[in-house]
């Protein structure tokens, strides 16, 4: 029993890091514009797909595919912002929901056209030999996932605290009008935030692919779970998303281990609904962790 729970917690931390990264992406865009980007999950799918393709074509170490495909997805994120969001930036919420959903299924359709419906694989970054700790096995790729997430978070922390652009983004999140009066170009911040969010999604997609494989249609599930992570941690509360993601991942894996693995996703969405119904501001509430 103890082993099962330990194992579930370990896998929970692994997938939870992924949800956290996606949730961070939601928050970055939300903070720049109050927009929730329903196409967020497609970045995850694109990251994995492009990485798998570059790996197949060039036969390089999967770690290098990280750089290539993250660059591409960052550009796609920026492109979506320019083509689909910018022209209707001030429109009604429902219009933006529909447009980002349109963008999301459009990307999915194009991906199906390019890659077909079969799953794609990316080999683990290093050995695939599981490491055994006290009867629980941990996949080395999980360590890569957790490590990458920590690096990304440290980088973001540095970016938002030390660079001019990062500070500008924090200023916009804090008060748009004041920020624009100070000469910050909000449009540019929005563009950067979509790029960033694309990059985060892409990284999440690449590091999880060696474990879960990837298909053209995984975006919706990952997007919804990333959103759940962001909601759990309090929307707009960047590092809350990370905690929300870990919590969601662990709860989901515990439910899968103790109840039924088939209902794993349903558990995650049920948690989302409960949080939305009971405390939409997130379990961490507002202002507990610095807003980035």
């Amino acid at each position: 029993m103890f082993e099962i729970i330990l194992q579930a917690i370990l896998s929970g931390i692994t997938v939870g890091s992924i949800y956290g990264l996606i949730g961070l992406g939601f928050n970055i865009i939300y903070n720049a514009s109050y927009i929730i980007n329903f196409a967020q999950g497609e970045f995850v799918m694109l990251g994995g797909m492009i990485a798998a393709t570059t790996f197949n074509v060039f036969k390089i170490n999967p770690i290098y595919t990280l750089i290539i495909s993250t660059t591409i997805v960052t550009l796609i994120g920026a492109l979506i912002e320019r083509m689909a969001i910018q022209p209707v930036r001030h429109a009604d919420v429902s219009v933006l929901v529909i447009i980002t959903i349109g963008a999301s299924i459009f990307i999915r359709g194009i991906s199906m056209l390019i890659w077909g419906k079969d799953p794609y694989i990316l080999p683990p970054f290093t050995s695939s030999e599981p490491i055994i700790i006290k009867n629980a096995a941990i996949n080395p790729q999980s360590l890569w996932i957790i490590g990458t997430t920590i690096v990304v978070v440290i980088f973001l922390q540095f970016f938002f605290k030390k660079t001019i652009t990062g500070k500008a983004m924090r200023a916009v999140a804090d008060n748009k009008k004041a920020a624009s009066l100070m000469g910050i170009k909000i449009e540019r911040i929005l563009l950067i935030s979509f790029g960033f969010s694309g990059a985060l999604g892409s990284i999440a997609g690449i590091i999880i692919t060696p474990i879960t494989l990837t298909t053209y249609d995984i975006g919706i599930i990952f997007g919804l779970k990333g959103f759940s992570a962001a909601i759990l941690g309090g929307i707009g509360n960047s590092f809350g998303a990370l905690i929300g993601g870990l919590l969601l991942g662990i709860l989901e894996c515990l439910a899968a281990a103790l109840v039924s693995s088939g209902y794993k996703d349903a558990v995650a969405f049920l948690i989302l609904l409960l949080v939305l119904f009971i405390k939409p501001s997130g379990i961490l509430g507002k202002g507990l962790i610095e807003k980035v």
């Binding site: 429902s94 963008a103 199906m112 056209l113 909601i231 996703d265 609904l273």
Partner: protein, 336 residues
């Protein structure tokens, strides 16, 4: 706005009903009739969803879930427990309404993105249940052996017989919807859409009203699901997944939010389109995605409301004969 008032809606309905009901006399090709049946089923769902989106201003990304509930409850009760299909249909409608009520109460307090995500999550949960509850639903491979409907011993075993049932039901629901949107409730709903706080201040019980419309739209979808199950005799979870919720939204948006005839237009066009474009069957979703973006950019009101606005402005256009005819016959109140 003109489309929403006056007797003109009934005239349009009579014309459409006469055309549709007479159609099989001229062409009763099995394939075409069955496409028309799917069209009728889709319009039924879209009609309800449009009441919710267009009039109450609430988005739902999970309506395929209600559609699936109707289909599965009808399917399971008739195929596994040999319950009379009509009783099963009523049970399906009741259970769906109860679920809709339970979900609506907390969900409709949410706004914008939260509401969209909550309904999306809710739809996903239902489609997971359809797959996982495999002893009842047959799991991913589907549920077989759903019997035909029958009316007083007359078996609705052909597409043509279902055709009349589906379309007549749709016309009844349409009359209901027209009455609803033209009643006091309809005005209150539009008020919610334009300004919820203002509506509340003027004494509209906005939350209650939104819940009622949500349940009504779930009932339309459940009914459509039951018909679907008895028409196809086989159901599988893939017919009720997220993509169908998006398809229904696309139909509403294309035809025009808050337009009953928009529901007909969007529903029929997007039901026929995949049939015409056979070769790209798998790639429908690209078209839906593209349509959603393009419509929001260029025709945010949807096709039918834009068109009707254009027509009703015609009388003001310089002395065109059509304009005069329209102003004399269709909108006499405008001439005065």
């Amino acid at each position: 706005m003109i489309m929403q008032y006056g007797r003109i809606n009934y005239y349009i309905l009579i014309i459409i009903a006469a055309t549709v009901l007479a159609f099989p006399l001229f062409n009763s090709n099995e394939y075409i009739i069955s496409v028309m049946n799917f069209m009728g089923i889709n319009i039924m769902i879209v009609l309800g969803l449009n009441l919710l989106m267009g009039y109450a201003g609430q988005i739902s990304l999970g309506h395929a879930g209600f559609f699936g509930m109707g289909a599965y409850i009808s399917g399971i009760l008739t195929a596994k427990y040999s319950i009379n299909p009509w009783i099963a249909l009523i049970i399906a409608v009741l259970l769906t309404s109860i679920l809709a009520l339970t979900v609506a109460h907390p969900t409709l307090r949410l706004k914008g993105y939260y509401l969209a995500m909550a309904t999306l999550g809710f739809g996903m949960i239902l489609s997971i249940i359809f797959v996982q509850l495999d002893e009842l639903t047959g799991g991913a491979s589907g549920l077989v052996g759903i019997p035909y409907l029958s009316i007083f011993g007359f078996n609705l075993s052909t597409s043509l017989r279902m055709y009349y049932l589906i379309w007549v039901t749709l016309f009844v629901l349409t009359v209901l919807s027209i009455n609803l949107v033209e009643s006091k409730i309809g005005r209150a709903l539009r008020a919610i859409h334009t300004g919820e706080v203002a509506a509340m201040v003027l004494g509209v019980e906005t939350h209650k009203l939104k819940i009622k419309v949500f349940i009504l739209s779930a009932i339309f979808a459940s009914l459509a699901g039951s018909y679907y199950a008895h028409f196809v005799n086989f159901i599988s979870p893939s017919s009720f997944d997220f993509h169908y919720s998006i398809l229904f939204i696309t139909m509403v948006i294309l035809g025009g939010m808050g337009s009953i005839w928009g529901s007909y237009f969007g529903g029929s066009l997007l039901s026929i389109l995949p049939e015409v474009l056979h070769s790209i069957e798998d790639y429908n979703i690209i078209i839906y995605g593209f349509l959603l973006i393009i419509i929001m950019f260029f025709l945010p009101k949807g096709v039918i409301p834009t068109l009707s606005e254009y027509i009703s402005n015609m009388p003001e256009r310089k002395g065109s004969i059509i304009g005069k005819l329209i102003s004399t016959y269709m909108y006499p109140q405008k001439g005065k």
